[in-house]
Each structure stands twice: as structure tokens, then as C-alpha cells.
């Protein structure tokens, strides 16, 4: 092997520097957005009555920015840096690297503009509309070509564990993104999901959960395996453990998505699969944590002194914490208490702040001095950053934990002697946790401040750096492997990246196929019910307003089969009720009450006032005002097109209905305005968006009221 002669090459470090700068910029933006929406929940006035500033639009921007802009750029910086060194090869193509960089930044900017202006698919962490979805696919393919091209050109026969994780990331994210984003365009920035109701929910949470798995976990584990041994100058603890936890993690993770849908209308067997695989995921996750922490054995005094290592050690610890809490929350009885509450939000942030931010901070403290050939500007500032961030995060996690448990217990509390809810008014449970929203917002502010400290520290470091020559490296080329189909030991497999990649595809394919395909192809799991009719044109227009305003960030539409819940909201939701919902809007959070059956609960006038200013009807409400719904007109002209797309997707709209969509919508608006006029509303309001929204809200759950509960049937048997 060493007979081939030495080749000289340089690394493309400039692209890494680009991504580092982008990570810092978008990190600050994402956290600033997070802090803003945290304060909006503590004091509703901070929604400022502005369309684009309201919680429902800002929250999706925060989550997308944190995941895809901040963590995304951080991943690309770390992967491109480590990839070249682990492969002893320059990145495959400088041009592709530039396209990748600028393409990704452009996607982020267009995401910001479109989400704030209300263009959204209404599916969590996949809110971006179809043109941007296509752009993401293209840029991801560019990344993949650049990555696998580099792998092909490598001068190191075997691929290191970090690269295993990168491969899993690139393949799986591509599959998740494409499958979940399949949608039918209505116009330039509006589309309908090709899946409906339960199917849409299943695909979405398969995606949503695995975005956490393959965007926020596997790439970061890969980065951990490169940067921790490099920074601590210690060997990796256990190669064997790397192999076992890698394969078990990749195989098991993909099944766990349905734990986001426990107690929902999803078929029970899929729910149970989601739960048991989540529990089985605990050990594989901890395998990564053990390997990270034990690599730091014997380096603990360094950890004390070096902010870089401190962040890395803390990151791995928080990873361990979050991956213990995750399986716990997936157990049905815990889930019934914690789901829809702030506990989940705290859980996510122990991951995104504790694991992702901290690991990125550690990596940046390693990379910036390396790349600019200098020393870090101030270690003291780094220490201060660490403690500010840690205290902020602790406040965050603890406040959300208290808020979540409090709310969960209040929702389910029943008086034993009357059988009534102890807190029948949802607002009581909101008021109780508002103080915790303040604590959380302060914690978040500390985290933001800590990040700004780092930006300053790294900025000074870069500014103080001098000029330097680009280094030239030498290594022999490798022989192209021959028997590339057969391997006896894992070590041999590590020399066969193509086979390795195929095995990864199989590992993630099995769980995906078994969970998703039955519900897509079989009507057995989603029974239709004649009582459920498609939305009228006006209701559909209202539904699209609901989606546009991101009401799903505060409201669920999924009543679970639990006594305290059906007493509060009405009969539990059935799969048949959602067959025309594209996208589904079950939501994942109850900052406000569930509204799956709000139809008919109040008169039209109540909603009219409530949307104008929720405090007119519920004194202590924290819901934003929506005054623009009272000045903007409903777009009637697009309705035939919308119905046509829905019909193409299988919703039974006849051609007559499609032709008469506008007239039909106006007629329904007339009925609603007639009722509102009694309360003093002027007739000219009938074309305004508020009327369409009321039409939608008033039909929610009405038709499904008479569908029988399954339990009663079982009892009779």
C-alpha cells in the first residue's frame, strides 16, 4: 500500500471559515427570536399587534432558524473541516462548496421572509413552502456530492466513526425531507400536503422526530468523535462501543417518531411501536455519551481550565440527560401527563442548548484558533460565557419542568366527590404558569447573552490573528479496494464506504417502511365515516388562515381518550374526522385549549370579539390580537383552484362544487354576517377574513360528535 508515491494537497479551510461566521450570525438571530417569543408568552402585548410579529409566525421561524440555520451551518463547518483531515483530501469541488454555502444562506433568508409573511405548510419544522423545499433538496444534493466525492478521493483507506455518522446524516435527512415535503402547489407560495389526517401526522412526526435524530444528533455525534479526541488529545475510549452504538442508534431511532402521537387517533399498534423503540433507544444513545465522556478520562484538569473542553464535556452530559428524559417521556403514562405541556419544550432545549449550542461552542473554540493560527482572545470570557449559559439553561429547564408538571396535573385534576374538573376553566391553568414563562424568558436571555460573549471573543481572536501561509500536506494515494462486496469484520467494512452507505439505507429503511406503508396503503387503519364531509369553500379559506397564522403553535386539535380530557373538550378524536385535513393540524402544544370540538361551543359573536382582542371575552388571556383579520379581505377568487387541487388529491369535490365555489363561499359568509349583525357588526364585514375563520372554527369537531367511541363497543362485546 505504501508503495504508491506521496501526493501533495491543501485543504479548503476558507469554506470552513465561511460556515463558522454564518454559524455565529444565525445562532444569535435564532436565540434572539427565541427570547422574543418567550417574552411574548409572558406578556402578550409584545406581539405588538403586528401581523409578522405575532407568536404564531415567529415561533416557526425560531425553530427553523435554530435547527437549520444555526445547527446547520455549525454542522457544515465541522463536517467540512474534519472530513478533509479524516480523508486526507481536499473537498471534492471548491465550486460546489461555494454553491452549498451561498445556497444555504439564501434558503435561510427566504425562509425568514416567507414564514413571517405567513407562507407556511403548517407542518412543524417543515413549514417552508414548496419552492424552498425544492431549493433545500438541491442544496442538500450538492452537499452530498461534495461529501461523497471527497470520500471517493480519500487517501485513508478506512473511514473513521465520525464519517459513519455523517453518512447516516446525509442519507437520512434527504429521505426524510423529500418524503415529508411531498405537496401539491396551489400557487407560488401555497400548497397542500399529499397526505391527509392520520397519514400526514404519521409522516410528519416520522420526519419531525428524525430531524432531531439525524440533524441534531447523528451529525453532532460525528463531530463529537472528531473534536473531543482532538481537543483533549486523548484516544477514543472504545472502538467496539462505537460500532455497536452506531448501528443500534441508526436502526432504532427511525422507529421512534410515533411517540409524538401517543393517545392520538393513530392506530394503537403504531403508537406502541413508537413507545417501545424509544425505550430501547436509551442504551444506544448512552453509548455515545459514555464514549464521549470516557474519552475525556484523565483530562479533567484540562476540562477545568479550558472553556473549549468544558463546553464539550457539558454538551455530552446534557446529551445524556436529554436522551434519558426522552425515553421516559415516551412511556405512555408519563406521556399522558407531559404531552402538550411545557415539559416537552424544556426537554427539547436541554438538547438544543445543552447539546447542540454547547458542542458548537466547544468546536468553535477549537476551530477558530486552529484556522486563524492564533490563540483564543480571552479564556476568562470563555469561562464567563460557560457559566452564564449554564445558569440560563438551568433556569430554562427547571421553569419548564415546573410549568409542565403543574399544567399537566391541573388539566387532569378531578374532584373525587363531584366527578367535576377541579380547574374547568382552561385560563386558570394558563395564569398559574405565567410566572414560569417569565423565569424561562430570563433564562433564555442569559443564554443569548452568553452567545454574544462568544461572538465577541471569537471576533477579537480573529481580529488579532496575523497573516499565514496555507499549509501543504502529503500522503500516498490508496489502492482502490478490490473485493468490495464481501467483508468479514467491521474493520473491512470501514474500507468499503459504498457498502457501508447501502447498509445505512437498509437500517433506516426497515423501520420507516414497516411503520408508514401500512397506514398509507390500507384503509383498515383509517376508517371513513359518512358523517364527515369535506370543508366548504369558505371553511377551507378559514382553515388556510388558521394555518397561515400558526394557531397550531398554541392550539392542539386532538382530544385524547382520557376522562379528564373528554370532560373538558368533548368526545375523543377519531381518525375518520381528519380524512380531509391537508395538512393535519393536531398541534403539539397547548398554550391555549384544544379546539378540536370548539365548533358550536360559542356564538359567532364570541369568536368575533375574541379574535379582535381575546381579553374582551377572557380577561387574563395571553393569546395575541388579530386585528388585520378585520381589515383584510378573503381571497375568494383562488377558491376554485384550491378545491381543484384538493379534488386532485382525492377529496370528493364535484365539478359543480368547484365551479360554484365563490358563490357558495359568499352565501355562507352572508349567513354568518346575518348572525353577527344582531350583535351590531356592520354588513360590510362579510368579505373580511374573520368571517372565513369563524366559518372554519364553527365546524370543528361538529360532524364527528356522533361517531361512537371504541370503548363502548368493546364493552358490549
Amino acid at each position: 500500500m505504501t508503495t504508491s508515491k506521496l501526493e501533495s494537497f491543501r485543504y479548503d479551510d476558507k469554506i470552513v471559515k465561511f460556515f463558522i461566521i454564518a454559524t455565529m450570525v444565525w445562532g444569535a438571530v435564532a436565540m434572539l427570536l427565541g427570547v422574543t417569543i418567550a417574552f411574548q408568552l409572558a406578556d402578550w402585548r409584545l406581539n405588538l399587534g403586528l401581523e409578522w410579529m405575532t407568536f404564531g409566525r415567529m415561533r416557526p421561524l425560531h425553530t427553523n432558524a435554530a435547527i437549520f440555520a444555526f445547527a446547520g451551518n455549525g454542522i457544515f463547518a465541522g463536517v467540512y473541516y474534519s472530513m478533509q483531515r479524516l480523508c486526507k483530501a481536499r473537498l471534492f469541488s471548491d465550486k460546489l462548496s461555494r454553491v452549498h454555502f451561498w445556497g444555504w444562506q439564501l434558503i435561510i433568508v427566504s425562509a425568514a421572509i416567507s414564514l413571517l409573511s405567513g407562507a407556511t405548510t403548517g407542518k412543524e419544522y417543515a413549514e417552508l413552502e414548496w419552492p424552498i423545499d425544492i431549493a433545500i433538496t438541491v442544496i442538500w444534493v450538492v452537499f452530498a456530492v461534495n461529501f461523497f466525492g471527497t470520500l471517493f478521493n480519500r487517501r485513508e483507506k478506512h473511514i473513521y466513526v465520525a464519517i459513519w455518522f455523517y453518512i447516516a446524516t446525509i442519507i437520512t435527512v434527504a429521505v426524510l425531507h423529500i418524503v415529508n415535503s411531498l405537496e401539491f402547489p396551489v400557487s407560488f407560495m401555497k400548497s397542500y400536503s399529499i397526505y391527509a389526517g392520520v397519514q400526514d401526522a404519521l409522516v410528519q412526526w416520522w420526519y419531525g422526530h428524525n430531524a432531531v435524530a439525524f440533524f441534531l444528533t447523528t451529525p453532532f455525534l460525528g463531530l463529537m468523535y472528531y473534536f473531543i479526541p482532538k481537543a483533549a488529545k486523548r484516544p477514543v475510549y472504545s472502538y467496539r462501543l462505537s460500532i455497536i452504538h452506531f448501528w443500534s442508534l441508526v436502526f432504532i431511532y427511525i422507529w421512534a417518531g410515533p411517540h409524538h402521537l401517543l393517545y392520538s387517533s393513530l392506530p394503537n399498534w403504531v403508537q406502541t411501536l413508537g413507545m417501545v423503540f424509544s425505550v430501547a433507544l436509551w442504551a444506544p444513545s448512552w453509548g455515545g455519551m459514555i464514549n464521549g465522556l470516557l474519552t475525556l478520562r484523565g483530562a479533567w484538569d484540562q476540562v477545568r481550565r479550558e472553556p473549549m473542553l468544558k463546553f464539550m464535556a457539558a454538551a455530552v452530559t446534557f446529551y445524556g440527560m436529554a436522551t434519558f428524559e426522552g425515553p421516559l417521556l415516551s412511556i405512555k403514562s408519563f406521556n399522558s401527563l407531559a404531552h402538550y405541556t411545557d415539559w416537552i419544550v424544556g426537554h427539547v432545549h436541554s438538547g438544543t442548548i445543552g447539546w447542540n449550542y454547547f458542542l458548537i461552542a466547544g468546536i468553535l473554540y477549537y476551530l477558530v484558533p486552529q484556522l486563524w493560527r492564533t490563540k483564543i482572545y480571552s479564556k476568562e470570557l470563555g469561562q464567563m460565557q460557560f457559566w452564564t449559559a449554564t445558569i440560563g439553561l438551568a433556569l430554562y429547564i427547571v421553569s419548564m419542568w415546573i410549568a409542565g408538571v403543574t399544567q399537566g396535573l391541573m388539566w387532569r385534576a378531578v374532584e373525587p366527590d363531584t366527578g367535576n374538573l377541579v380547574y374547568p376553566h382552561f385560563i386558570e391553568t394558563v395564569v398559574r404558569i405565567v410566572p414560569m414563562y417569565w423565569v424561562r424568558a430570563i433564562g433564555g436571555t442569559l443564554v443569548l447573552i452568553s452567545f454574544i460573549m462568544m461572538i465577541y471573543n471569537l471576533y477579537k481572536t480573529i481580529k488579532n490573528a496575523g497573516e499565514h501561509e496555507e499549509e501543504v500536506f502529503q500522503a500516498p494515494a490508496i489502492e482502490k479496494s478490490k473485493g468490495f462486496l464481501f467483508f468479514k469484520k467491521h474493520r473491512e467494512l470501514e474500507g468499503l464506504p459504498l457498502i457501508f452507505t447501502i447498509l445505512v439505507v437498509i437500517a433506516i429503511g426497515v423501520g420507516s417502511a414497516i411503520e408508514i406503508i401500512p397506514s398509507l396503503v390500507s384503509t383498515k387503519f383509517i376508517q371513513k365515516n359518512e358523517a364527515i364531509t369535506p370543508y366548504t369553500p369558505l371553511e377551507l379559506a378559514g382553515r388556510d388562515i388558521y394555518i397561515r397564522e400558526g394557531c397550531y403553535t398554541c392550539h392542539s386539535q386532538m382530544i385524547r381518550p382520557m376522562a379528564a380530557e373528554t370532560m373538558r373538550y368533548g368526545k375523543y378524536s377519531k381518525a375518520a374526522e381528519f380524512v380531509y385535513d391537508r395538512p393535519f393540524q393536531w398541534g403539539s402544544r397547548r398554550i391555549g385549549p384544544d379546539i378540536a370540538r370548539v365548533g358550536g361551543k360559542y356564538p359567532h359573536m364570541w369568536h368575533y370579539r375574541h379574535m379582535w382582542d381575546p381579553r374582551e371575552v377572557t380577561l387574563d388571556s395571553i393569546m395575541p390580537k388579530y386585528p388585520w383579520l378585520f381589515s383584510k379581505k378573503t381571497d375568494y377568487q383562488v377558491l376554485p383552484k384550491k378545491l381543484k387541487v384538493m379534488a386532485a388529491l382525492g377529496v370528493p369535490y364535484g365539478s359543480e362544487q368547484i365551479e360554484n365555489a365563490v358563490a357558495n363561499a359568499k352565501e355562507q359568509a352572508e349567513e354568518i354576517i346575518a348572525a353577527l349583525e344582531e350583535g351590531g357588526v356592520e354588513n360590510k364585514m362579510k368579505d373580511k377574513q374573520i368571517v372565513a375563520l369563524i366559518a372554519y372554527l364553527q365546524r370543528l369537531g361538529v360532524e364527528g360528535r356522533d361517531i361512537e367511541d371504541e370503548s363502548t363497543q368493546e364493552e358490549e362485546e
Binding site: 472528531y226 363531584t418 381518550p561 376522562a563 370532560m567
Partner: protein, 194 residues
């Protein structure tokens, strides 16, 4: 690389990547046990609840609900018997009238307006009534059941017994008061009993 101890040297593998070396420590025993533990749990749990005869979520819910319905039925039966002694003890206590007022302001003004002058729901201080007849005996039970299809919620399960009596007493205490542009009368006239 930092100094390595003997134990580590013994398991050091002979490759490195960009200077990163790997040890090959055996898997921690507790980890292996929890790994298999998780998998075994998964198999048993799935077998019992899905393949086997474990109760479904809906079935367990049905049992809970049945029990609660019995408790409720008993409670509502007692509650709906208007007790005039209880009522009088409320209507004669200024304190309880205050409780009634504050509860009315919390739960009812959204639809009946301040001092029940009427808005989405009717004026509750005039002599005209749709369902009740201007007496505590008729107002109290109507509040319990409401008329959900007409926009008036049922309050029996939303408010506690003492709150319901207090609100009724409060409503009776403001019958006939002077109102600024009250809602037009609705329903039949029932002469006020002094």
C-alpha cells in the same frame, strides 16, 4: 496525545486518523444489560398490548369514564334539587353576594355584559325571560343546564355548588336596577315578585 496508562496501552488499536487513536475497551457491563433490557422490554410490552390481549387505551378510558359518570350522576341529582334554605343563607349574606358578583364578572359578563344588561345573551335584570321565570327556583336550574345550542353554556360542571348559589343570589339582587342602554327585552314577561 497525553500520557496513557498501562490499561489503556493494552487496548490501543494500531490505527489513527488525523492523529486520533482508538482504544478498544470492553463494553461496560451495566450498559450491555440495559441495552438488552430495553430490547426485551420492547418485545414483552409489544407482545402483551398489541399481539396479545392487553387492554387498549380506549378500553381503559371507557372504564374510567363509566366510574366518573356514576359519581357525576349522583352529584348532579343532588345539585339540581334547588334548596331554598341554602339559597336564603346566600341571598342574605352581603359577603356571598360579593362572591356571586365576582363570579358573574369572571364567567358571565363576556356574554351578558356588566350588571347583566345583556349582549350576546339576554338582559337578566328585566322582567322578560326566555327560559327562566325571574325566580331563583327557575334561574338556578337553568344555569346548571344552560342551552348550549342557543349559545348558553351549561355550568353545572364548570362551577362549584356554592358559586352557583352565589351567582343566583347576585342575579336576584340586581333585578330591576337602572341600566344604561340595556338589550331589548326577550321572551315572555313575568311580573317581578317582591
Amino acid at each position: 496525545m497525553n500520557e496513557m496508562n498501562e490499561e489503556d496501552k493494552a487496548v490501543l488499536l494500531d490505527h489513527d486518523y488525523d492523529g486520533i487513536q482508538e482504544l478498544d475497551h470492553p463494553l461496560p457491563r451495566w450498559w450491555v444489560m440495559s441495552f438488552w433490557g430495553g430490547i426485551i422490554f420492547a418485545i414483552i410490552y409489544f407482545s402483551y398490548y398489541v399481539v396479545g390481549s392487553g387492554p387498549s387505551l380506549q378500553y381503559e378510558y371507557g372504564l374510567d369514564l363509566k366510574h366518573l359518570k356514576e359519581v357525576k350522576k349522583e352529584y348532579l341529582k343532588n345539585l339540581s334539587q334547588f334548596n331554598s334554605d341554602t339559597y336564603h343563607s346566600y341571598s342574605q349574606s352581603p359577603e356571598m353576594l360579593k362572591v356571586g358578583e365576582s363570579n358573574f364578572n369572571k364567567h358571565c359578563v363576556a356574554c351578558h355584559r356588566d350588571k347583566a344588561a345583556g349582549d350576546i345573551g339576554p338582559n337578566l335584570t328585566d322582567e322578560y325571560w326566555l327560559y327562566a321565570e325571574g325566580t331563583p327556583e327557575t334561574i338556578f336550574p337553568f344555569i346548571l343546564t344552560g342551552n348550549p345550542s342557543g349559545g348558553m353554556p351549561a355550568w353545572a360542571e364548570m362551577l362549584k355548588e356554592d358559586e352557583l348559589y352565589a351567582i343566583t343570589a347576585y342575579l336576584m339582587s340586581i333585578q330591576g336596577i337602572e341600566q344604561e342602554n340595556p338589550k331589548a327585552p326577550q321572551g315572555e314577561r313575568f311580573e317581578r315578585i317582591k
